[in-house]
Structure formats: structure tokens, C-alpha cells
């Protein structure tokens, strides 16, 4: 007997919230990408908890896809950050104003 699903949901929800707060509040592209990672991880925890609740393996299979998407997103995102830093000399999203 582990905890009820609502506690797993609360944990994943608060983790997702921390990630969302990071993405909206920090002015740093790398920290924003870290926030997206936290949100994806919260989703993965929720999927594993739901897989245990209903005894289905589908939830665990989905976590594999989440891992792959996270890896792809991070590699492309970090390459774009390196590019932006080369171009603008800063990773503050407020200073990317070349079009102004």
C-alpha cells in the first residue's frame, strides 16, 4: 500500500508549477530551458503514477516518448542558445532586439 493517487498528483502538479514559474519569471534562456525540463519531468511522474493506479503499461510507455522529446528539445534548444549568444552576446531574452 503506497499513497493514494491524489498525493502523486499533488506532487507532480507542484513540480509542474515550479517549472512554469521558472519559465515565466526568470530572465535567462538557460534557466527557462531548465524550467521546461522540470515540467516534462513532472508529466513523467504523473504518467508513472497513473500507470500504477490503473495497472496499465501504456503510461510507462509514454514516459519513454517524453524522455526522447526532452532530449531532442534540449539539444536543439541549447544549440539555439549558443547561436543567440554568438549573435547578441547575451542570453537575456529581453535583449534580443535585433529587429527593433
Amino acid at each position: 500500500m503506497i499513497v493514494p493517487l491524489s498525493h502523486v498528483m499533488a506532487l507532480a502538479g507542484v513540480l509542474f508549477l515550479i517549472g512554469m514559474f521558472t519559465v515565466t519569471a526568470r530572465r535567462n534562456l538557460i534557466m527557462m530551458l531548465l524550467g521546461v525540463e522540470i515540467m516534462l519531468n513532472a508529466g513523467a511522474i504523473m504518467f508513472v503514477g497513473a500507470a500504477l493506479r490503473w495497472g496499465q503499461l501504456e503510461g510507462q510507455a509514454f514516459v519513454i516518448f517524453i524522455l526522447a522529446v526532452a532530449a531532442a528539445e534540449v539539444s536543439v534548444g541549447l544549440a539555439m542558445i549558443v547561436r543567440v549568444h554568438r549573435r547578441c552576446g547575451s542570453i537575456d531574452p529581453g535583449e534580443l532586439n535585433l529587429l527593433k
Binding site: 500500500m1 524522455l67 526522447a68 544549440a79
Partner: protein, 176 residues
């Protein structure tokens, strides 16, 4: 209160504390290290919730590959010190308001359904059963995500290449 639930609460506390510490750091290297601790906690949570294979993958991919990639990038870019605050008030006030709304929604979703209050029975999906299920039922999706990873690899290579004649602002250090 069984042993499993005590482990769950300890792990949950560890994950939340290290994540909050990670997102509030000014130094990004510290943030990445704290986040690695948080992902170790998540991996143990996956073990507890009956997914040992995913727990291992979490350590290998999230903590081992993704976070180390972040660490490489943080050390590769030489960030200039800016005197700006980490959380400017024009941004954290709307973010906090948004978070409060979402928090209420999560509370509603998690606790309104009475069937969610049944304690979970512990079970385990062995890696062998999980792999067989994955490659029997979801073989097409596996092929698609392998293609996605290939596209991401090519995209990262193309984006990271230095284009000929591209101005490099970080060396000239002359803000216009």
C-alpha cells in the same frame, strides 16, 4: 502509514526542496547540480511506483545526459555579470498570479475525485515485460521517435555551425 508511504513522502520532499533550490539559484552551475539531485529523487520515485526500467533511464538520460549537456553549455558560454535581479518584479508578480490559479486547479483536480483517495497497491513491471509490451504495441511510435532524435541531431549540428561571414558580437564587445 506504511514504510512505502514514508519513503514516498521523504522522496517528494527531497524532490520539491532541491527543485526550488535549483530554480532560485543565481549561479547556473549550482542550479544544474541541484536539478541533478532532484532527478535522482524522481528516479527513486519511479522505482517506488513500479517502473525500475524507467528509473534507470531517468538516471542515464535526464541526470546523465541532459543535465551534463546543460553543464557543458553553461561552461562554454562566458556570461557577463549583469546587475539585473534574477526575478524582476514585472515578471514574477504575473507569474505568481498565474501559479496561484494553476495551483487551485491542481488541488481541485487531485482531491475532488473520491476514487483518487484509494491507496495504490504496489506492483512492478519487469523490464522484460515492459520491453516486450513496448515493441509489440508501440513499434511504430518507437520508429517515429528515433527519427525525431535523428532530426534533432541534424538540427543541432546545423544550428551550432558557424556560418561564414556571420558577425560575432561576443568578441567585439561593443554594444551598439
Amino acid at each position: 502509514m506504511t514504510l512505502y508511504s514514508i519513503i514516498f513522502y521523504i522522496l517528494g520532499l527531497e524532490i520539491l526542496v532541491t527543485t526550488v533550490l535549483a530554480v532560485s539559484r543565481h549561479d547556473m552551475v549550482h542550479a544544474v547540480i541541484y536539478l541533478i539531485m532532484s532527478f535522482f529523487g524522481s528516479a527513486l520515485l519511479f522505482f517506488l511506483l513500479g517502473a525500475p526500467f524507467l528509473g534507470a533511464l531517468e538516471v542515464i538520460i535526464y541526470a546523465g545526459a541532459i543535465m551534463i549537456l546543460f553543464l557543458f553549455i553553461v561552461m562554454m558560454l562566458n556570461m557577463k555579470k549583469t546587475g539585473k535581479p534574477d526575478f524582476p518584479s514585472t515578471q514574477w508578480v504575473p507569474a505568481a498570479a498565474l501559479s496561484l490559479c494553476v495551483l487551485m486547479l491542481i488541488g481541485l483536480l487531485a482531491f475532488i475525485d473520491p476514487s483518487n483517495h484509494v491507496p495504490l497497491e504496489s506492483a512492478m513491471a519487469s523490464p522484460k515485460a515492459f520491453g516486450e509490451f513496448l515493441f509489440r504495441q508501440h513499434w511504430l511510435s518507437i520508429e517515429i521517435i528515433s527519427l525525431l532524435l535523428l532530426v534533432a541531431l541534424i538540427g543541432a549540428l546545423a544550428l551550432g555551425r558557424q556560418a561564414p561571414g556571420e558577425p560575432r558580437k561576443e568578441e567585439s564587445e561593443t554594444p551598439s
